[in-house]
């Protein structure tokens, strides 16, 4: 039997993002639950978040972000042979999103599947794409993180509804001579499966906030350090840190533990909220758009969420 031959390395060729037009402020939320702007800024770090329209789907947002990523990469739609969408908030459980997204973008018949590792999904997808390209299962991958959390949170529960937002982010990943996606550090802790759940079709999100906070601030700094060690990049040489935008206090704790003293740190949660699997490509794409992340920069990405699951790696900025 023959085996496939892949590319020596893989890297991100272009990024894109999309946020719905409707903006929800903390004061807007304080009008319907007992909370206030100062508390939300202080404990979570969110000031505004974007909320999808009722008739705007996860697929709609994914298509918008992916179209921009294709343009940024200078990639023709028909050059994509695998589409992977990280999401945990689809309206329906069948069909998955990726085949429809491909069709809407004019990508003819690629391999297509969705990936659910909750908020960590995009970082899982980076390694799936890297492996596929290096092993020869795919030449060019469209990886998307897209979420409509607004459809799944209980808008009367002030411990969750203040945190989340809707968005999509996407990356086109292709072969390269050098490594552009470093070794992954990933893992899970199923003993804490109950910490973040959406238990059923008509149920809303339930979250044990403090337990998640403790877990993230205890373990993610070490994961970040290990991802740097495996990539062979010293923390002080990391140019950009993009932790999952779960809570600004968690972001700060991870960066402090990592010792990435010279890095630009993504603080996209401030005006996007926590957008689950979309948060990392959204935050990185916006840093690139603003010129704060530059081509060739070493970027540490690190995500964690329900499962509990986590994954992180050092990547090269497109």
């Amino acid at each position: 039997m023959n085996s496939a031959t892949g590319s020596p390395g893989a890297r991100i060729l272009g990024l894109g993002h999309y946020r719905p037009s409707k903006v929800l402020t903390n004061d807007d939320i304080a009008a319907f639950v007992d909370t206030n702007d100062a508390w939300i800024r202080d404990r979570v770090g969110v000031v505004t978040r974007h909320i999808a329209a009722d008739d705007e789907s996860v697929v709609d947002m994914a298509v918008a972000a992916a179209g921009k990523a294709l343009a940024a990469a200078g990639a023709e739609a028909d050059s994509i042979d695998l589409v992977v969408t990280a999401t945990c908030t689809l309206e329906a459980s069948l069909p998955g999103a990726s085949a429809t997204i491909a069709t809407r973008l004019g990508i003819p018949g690629p391999g297509a599947f969705d990936l659910n590792a909750a908020c960590a999904g995009f970082c899982y997808g980076l390694t799936v794409a890297d492996d596929a390209i290096r092993c020869g299962s795919a030449q060019r991958v469209l990886l998307i993180g897209a979420e409509k959390l607004s459809a799944w949170v209980d808008w009367t529960d002030r411990s969750t509804c203040i945190i989340f937002g809707d968005a999509a982010g996407a990356a086109v990943i292709g072969g390269s001579e050098t490594t552009g996606i470093g070794p992954v550090v990933w893992g899970s802790d199923g003993t804490r499966a109950g910490a973040i759940t959406i238990p059923g079709r008509d149920a809303a999100m339930h979250m044990e906030g403090q337990a998640v906070f403790r877990w993230a601030t205890t373990t993610m700094g070490k994961v970040a350090l290990e991802a740097c060690r495996r990539a062979g990049v010293a923390p002080e040489d990391i140019a950009i840190v993009v932790p999952h935008q779960a809570n600004l206090r968690i972001v700060d704790a991870i960066v402090r533990q990592l010792g990435a003293t010279n890095a630009v740190v993504a603080r996209d949660i401030v005006d996007s909220g926590n957008t689950s699997a979309a948060s990392i490509p959204l935050a990185l794409s916006r840093l690139v758009e603003r010129g704060e992340a530059r081509t060739g920069d070493d970027v540490l990405v690190l995500a964690f969420g329900a499962g509990l699951t986590f994954a992180g790696q050092v990547i090269t900025c497109p």
């Binding site: 202080d42 404990r43 403090q210 337990a211 906070f213 403790r214 601030t217 205890t218 206090r249 704790a253 402090r256």
Partner: protein, 82 residues
């Protein structure tokens, strides 16, 4: 580790996590009322203390640690160095 050393170590953690001046840290000070350590900073303080003093501080125990003195006493009693 002496009581003083534990208190000094705890003050270092409070400075790093919550920006509290070591001079403001004394046994009778309440974390929330006097030092403005909110529930999330308290989690970070506990996590850092577990590491520094090689001690387990379960979630249920955290709410009993009202003052700096409470925390020092807990670490003295349960820490590896005890």
């Amino acid at each position: 580790m002496t009581t003083d050393e534990i208190q000094t170590g705890l003050a270092e953690i409070l400075e790093e996590v919550a920006g509290i001046l070591p001079a403001d840290v004394s046994p009778e000070k309440s974390f929330t009322d006097d030092l403005d350590v909110d529930s999330l900073s308290m989690v970070e303080v506990v996590v850092a203390a577990e590491e520094k003093f090689d001690v387990k501080i379960p979630d249920d125990e955290v709410k009993n640690l009202r003052t700096v003195g409470d925390a020092v006493a807990y670490i003295e009693k349960h820490g590896a160095a005890a």
